[in-house]
């Protein structure tokens, strides 16, 4: 379980996260939705200790990760996989070396076993024969999927996905949605998914939480969110330019 208590984070004078509370139950998928720039990626980075809150606590597996030192963080992070919004592939390494990065470093598997696993993970995200390519030779959507393959390579307990379907065609988006659902079902992963894609949110989420002005303003199951009375949430999920959300500023 991941539990965020009264998390506050400012960049300079800009308050991005404002006394935010959120609970991610074990073995469930929580989808975080919200407008571009509202702080979803920032929130995700707090959950794995890449950013430290100004105040508040982030409890993962019973430990407040905001208080851990580097060694403690590394221990916790071995249970995580993270897909970055930008994919963040290592551009000096090949696709195979990227996907096999943690396998090579943290397991005693032979190169042949790793090659096989890399191939399997790439197949899961719909890629083949790209092992020897460099990230600069891939399309945006392919990079995203290699990033996903790298993130799930170690079968982590907790997966953080930052916009897994952005930049993918509709068919590929659906394949990735199914993959996320399957991973959660088969491997009993705990997942946090940041997305703008409402179709995907309804399909994969056990719970959907909407972030607005630095807080979670509403959370519930997909049907609860679909039938909400909250006008802000309604405006967002219906994609309307008219409503309580200020479009400028």
């Amino acid at each position: 379980m991941i539990k965020l208590n009264n998390v506050i984070k400012c960049f300079g004078t800009q308050q991005v996260v404002n006394s935010l509370n959120l609970e991610i139950p074990d073995k469930k998928t929580v989808v975080i939705i919200g407008r571009s720039g509202c702080g979803k990626s920032v929130l995700l980075k707090h959950m794995i200790g890449l950013l430290k809150p100004d105040s508040g606590s982030i409890v993962v597996k019973g430990k407040d990760i905001a208080k851990l030192d580097t060694a403690g963080l590394d221990d916790i992070r071995k249970h995580f996989g993270m897909l970055f919004q930008s994919a963040a592939l290592f551009d000096s390494l090949t696709v195979a070396e990227n996907v096999g990065f943690a396998l090579t470093r943290f397991t005693k598997k032979s190169p042949a076993e790793i090659r096989q696993l890399v191939k399997e993970k790439l197949a899961l995200v719909g890629l083949e024969n790209v092992e020897e390519k460099k990230p600069s030779e891939l399309s945006g959507g392919m990079k995203k999927r290699v990033g996903l393959a790298r993130a799930i390579a170690m079968d982590p307990e907790i997966m953080l996905y930052d916009e897994p379907t952005t930049g993918l065609d509709p068919i590929m988006s659906d394949i990735i949605n199914e993959l996320i659902v399957n991973l959660q079902k088969q491997l009993k992963m705990t997942s946090v998914v940041v997305t703008h894609d409402m179709k995907s949110a309804y399909k994969i989420g056990d719970k959907i939480a909407m972030m607005y002005e630095g807080r979670i303003i509403e959370e519930g199951t997909p049907p609860e969110i679909q039938n909400t009375n909250n006008p802000t949430v309604q405006q967002f999920i219906n994609g309307s330019s008219k409503g309580p959300i200020q479009v400028l500023g």
Binding site: R77, K78, G81, A88, F101, A102, R105
Partner: protein, 259 residues
Amino acid sequence: MLKNVFEYTGKKVTVFFFEAGKITSLFGQVIYWTFKKPSEVKSIFEQMVIIGNKSLGVVTITSLSTGMILALQTGTAIERKISGAANMLGGIVSLALTRELAPVLIGLVMAGKIGSAIAAEIGTMNVTEQVDALKTMATNPVKYLAVPRFIAAIFMLPLLTIYADLLGTLGGLFISLNIFDGTTGSYFESLNMYMRLDDVFKGLFKTIFFGAIIAVIGSHKGFETEGGAEGVGKSTTSSVVISSMLILVTDYILTAFLW
């Protein structure tokens, strides 16, 4: 007005000490990981090859021309008063090269060539979230990125300096033979007479520090890079400026202690 001056100076001084603190802390971490577990062996060799490949050309040109210039300048100056400059050139050129010119020039050239590359590479990884990605995979970026570059630099700078010592000495010989009618025998005789082996070793010893400066400042600037391609450009430039200054200052201090 006066208040502004104080405020400005105060800010600059604070920033200076803040940065100096960060560099010291990074240096400490690098040393710690260098002696703790020298993992990433493959990466160390890779970096050594990269440094060698990148710099062999510039080091060749720098050292050869420095040796030749040195011989030409001192030779013509000596000839004003006494004839037979060729008999002294070997000693003059090799002393100046091994004690001072080869180490410091190689240091400066490498700051431009290798230090900037380290800052640009780590800086790009930083602004494209690759450094964050390393962290999420429980990999310490200092250990994975900075330490191999550090070890490679402190090995490669002395090696390249030995090469520069040799090549510069040969450049001096070339001038001695062709401009001052010297002989190979007399060139090496004077070299033998004036130069001691510890001159060479002390010169090489200095370059270990220069290598450390280049790698640590390059890595520091890389890890501190913010704000996209523009930020990478700024880091690259300032890594060269800072490490060049530090090399010159360190050179003076080491020279004062060593001889």
